[in-house]
Subunit: 307 residues, 2 copies
């Protein structure tokens, strides 16, 4: 089988040895090239619009991550199956990151580290976790894991998603109409939504100003979920306490971007949950075997829903 | 009953209303005063040497915290019972702080926040918790809770204490001879020991240099446990990755202390676990009732052990 590695900005070489080991019979080509154009399987992160439509033998598009928004955004995307990665380790890593960020705000460590740079000793009031409601937007594998982890740590957890979910001990809300209720008392708002036309810009002025005063946000989904001007305005007005931002429309965030130095913002380098290359490739290899045998593919994306 | 509030640097007024509410029949005096000298119960944090010996009616010394090292350090301490506070909420708060600090090092957030101040985007390798052994020194109520919490988060946890403990899923070591073994593979070393003559300076050059390269320390016990020169030397040599320090021999740490700005050190304002005044006073009030009735006192300190 012929495989093409496709990404707008390249950088997929880290997968090559793993693919050669897991798929010994496959031919591996890098986009852009004529050979890549002839491939039957596109292994991609962010394929430029039209790239996939220009592959006459294409039978499968496989994302190398949990998200497929960059792939589905191509209006010329041909009608072949699109699959994504699902990885329990990703959920665990995301749980660690979100738990860390929740403690950063809950225990005042954002202010304490700021004070430390000025040699300023100030002890803040200590609140129990039970007085710090957290809302998780997006209740897929990862969101569910994060919600349960924070619930187990003693936080009152609310969840919100497109379709109804039932998670013991988590107050789950569903649908656009329920968003204001889900976030009404959130001291920490964690965004783990898939990026779809419905969720683009969901963290805009209306949503963020509906949070209680002093709330903080943690963005681990996609940069396009956040209205950057709104968050800066609400940080400067004091309505928001802070923002831990791990994802951006353009990554890496340029060194001269003022967000790095916006008071209350912590920029992290899209590090919240990284899939191991071996794991990614094992799932792709399994789907290649299934494609070969005509068996149902794993983790196939519902293109209407967008994930 | 006459009660005296005694602390070298004052500042115990925050307890007054709670004591008046919980002990309506008691007379409350502040040291230094003749009336305080006549009290039968000394409620203290850090009484100057000789203060307690100069109280002819003294029947009970009650610490307002979990630690009694400042009280037992007085060579003239009279032979009356010494009691301390035990508070499950303290253990929970300490668990949060130590978990936060462990994630800070484990997920490279120490380096990420440093990079953020320079607008520098760099993603570090993501290690699973199972590859980050943590050692907890001190396995009292608090140490045990911290060890269990980190174990449940997936870290391989080792514990060390003076006397043997058995904690499921935690590799427990006991006694001075076992310290090198307990810390041999620790990527994060958390100190929660009581301060006694045996533990003073325990985090000196010998112990810290026996940690594996790249290890970090989290100090939540007493400043006197740490040899400050040793930690600075080993941070500068690169042997230690970092240090989160919450306690210091002199608190507040003076604004001009160079530790605030030592690369790799994060100073926090003795905030890891604060007892609620209401909780402290409820335990003291219960012991006053017991003293009155001649019943056994709660949380009485073994003066030979020091806790």
């Amino acid at each position: 089988m012929r495989l093409a590695l496709i990404n707008r900005t390249g950088g997929l070489e880290f997968l090559e040895d793993h693919i050669r080991a897991a798929c010994p019979g496959a031919r591996l080509e890098y986009w852009p090239s004529d050979a890549a154009r002839e491939a039957e399987v596109a292994i991609c992160w962010d394929p430029p619009d039209g790239t996939l439509a220009d592959m006459p033998n294409l039978r499968l598009v496989h994302s190398i991550g949990a998200g497929v928004d960059r792939i589905l955004a191509d209006p010329t995307l041909p009608d072949v199956p699109v699959c994504r990665i699902r990885d329990d380790d990703l959920a665990v890593a995301m749980g660690e990151y979100c738990h860390w960020a929740t403690l950063w705000f809950h225990r005042g460590l954002d202010a304490v580290t700021r004070n430390a740079t000025a040699g300023h000793w100030h002890r803040f009031e200590q609140r129990p976790a039970s007085q710090v409601p957290v809302c998780v937007l997006g209740l897929g594998d990862t969101g569910r894991h994060v919600a349960c982890r924070l619930r187990d740590a003693g936080y009152p957890v609310r969840g919100w998603s497109r379709s109804p979910h039932d998670i013991p001990g988590v107050l789950c809300h569903a649908g656009p109409g329920a968003l204001p209720l889900a976030i009404a008392d959130a001291q920490v708002l964690i965004c783990l939504l898939p990026l779809t036309p419905d969720t683009t810009g969901i963290l805009g002025h209306a949503t963020l100003s509906a949070l209680p005063p002093g709330a903080a946000i943690v963005l681990c989904s996609r940069g396009e979920h956040l209205d950057r001007a709104a968050v800066v305005t609400l940080l400067r007005s004091g309505h928001l306490r802070g923002a831990v931002l791990d994802v951006f429309p353009q990554e890496p965030l340029p060194a001269d971007d003022p967000l790095w130095h916006e008071p209350g913002v912590l920029v992290t380098p899209h590090m919240s949950a990284l899939a191991k290359p071996r794991r990614i490739v094992a799932q792709i290899a399994e789907n290649l075997r299934r494609l070969d045998r005509g068996d149902p593919l794993l983790n196939r994306v519902d293109r209407a829903r967008g994930y």
